[in-house]
Symmetry: C2
Subunit: 206 residues, 2 copies
């Protein structure tokens, strides 16, 4: 298909598609003349990915390019690539507290849950910041709540990992999008489950 049809299929202006081509987020099409190129389903799929990363996921074009490079070149160490790809997603976490024990709350929490603690992993700083904010507000996460939330997270993670495509390029794409796009779904479902539980407990005005 021509660039105009590609843009229409993706629901994007042609100028935006051209911008993604210039920025290297979208692979060039197959040249069909000096001024025209042809695009296929592969390009459309990539455009949907770029649109998600720069839209709902909230990445800059530069950040999206970094993530796409990991999708395109996952390398031999898929575990490390997945960690870097997820680490490129918002939000940023807390600053390290010190060289010896940079994330003390997150370390203690992961030890309590019996999980891997690796301070290089971006979500550790994120957990540290989230636990510190709860402490500062006078509503610290109790060990019991940590166990409950940790267990729910582990169940969801096991489910998500079982469905990860075996092919490395697809695995990185699935992990990035599944992490970023399903987080808001989970949070909305939690708020709605609160509402559902509250209406059963408190009743509502007629």
């Amino acid at each position: 298909m021509r660039i105009s049809a590609l843009a229409a299929e993706a629901g994007l202006p042609v100028a935006t598609v051209k911008y993604y081509l210039r920025e290297g987020l979208l692979q060039p099409g197959t040249a069909t003349s000096a001024t025209q190129a042809s695009y296929d389903e592969h390009h459309l799929r990539r455009l949907r990915l770029v649109r998600a990363l720069t839209g709902p996921v909230g990445l800059s074009v530069q950040q999206a390019r970094s993530v796409l490079q990991l999708v395109d070149e996952p390398g031999d160490d898929l575990y490390s690539t997945l960690g870097r790809a997820v680490g490129a997603l918002p939000p940023d976490g807390a600053e390290p507290a010190g060289a010896d024990d940079p994330y003390p709350r997150a370390r203690a929490a992961l030890e309590a849950l019996g999980q891997v603690y690796d301070p290089e992993f971006a979500a550790v700083a994120q957990l540290e910041g989230a636990l510190a904010a709860a402490d500062d507000a006078g509503m610290p996460i109790t060990p019991e709540r940590l166990a409950r939330y940790g267990s729910a997270a582990a169940d969801l993670a096991a489910y998500d990992l079982e469905r990860m495509p075996p092919e490395p390029h697809a695995a990185v794409e699935y992990t990035v999008l599944g992490t970023a796009l399903y987080e808001p779904v989970l949070l909305a479902l939690r708020r709605l489950a609160h509402q559902d539980a509250a209406v059963r407990r408190l009743g509502r005005e007629a």
Copy 2:
């Protein structure tokens, strides 16, 4: 305690505490002279709440004031007050699609989960937007995944509701902070559980 001690205890500049007093986010102290007032633990607790709402939760001073009004005057219909308080929190959801069926994806999802569907509730628009983003990216939430995520959310909500303080002012405060401050904890735990599951599945470089 004097305002300087209050500010020091809360870890805030005196000028910020005075600003919150002027904006009505913090109740006035007890006047001890023409130019001085005395503050107590109640003020300190409120300052921690204001700091959380305007800091990690990300509300503007105006939005924080709206939430604090619901904390201070929860009224008789606690279910509705809780809904409005949580509705004042970010993020905003999707625009309604039409008058007859404004949030079709969210409605279908909640029906599938057997939960209350009330389009007035802010998280419904949030769920609609999150489901639409997943659709647009070519990674729709399958019915099986929805059931799994919904079940995890319901378990967490039941746990959270059981621990809600019975006193209405405290219930609103608990619900607002528990919703906003524990969401980032849950998301960080999910990412870390992914990492933990991935290292078991994929192994890691030595």
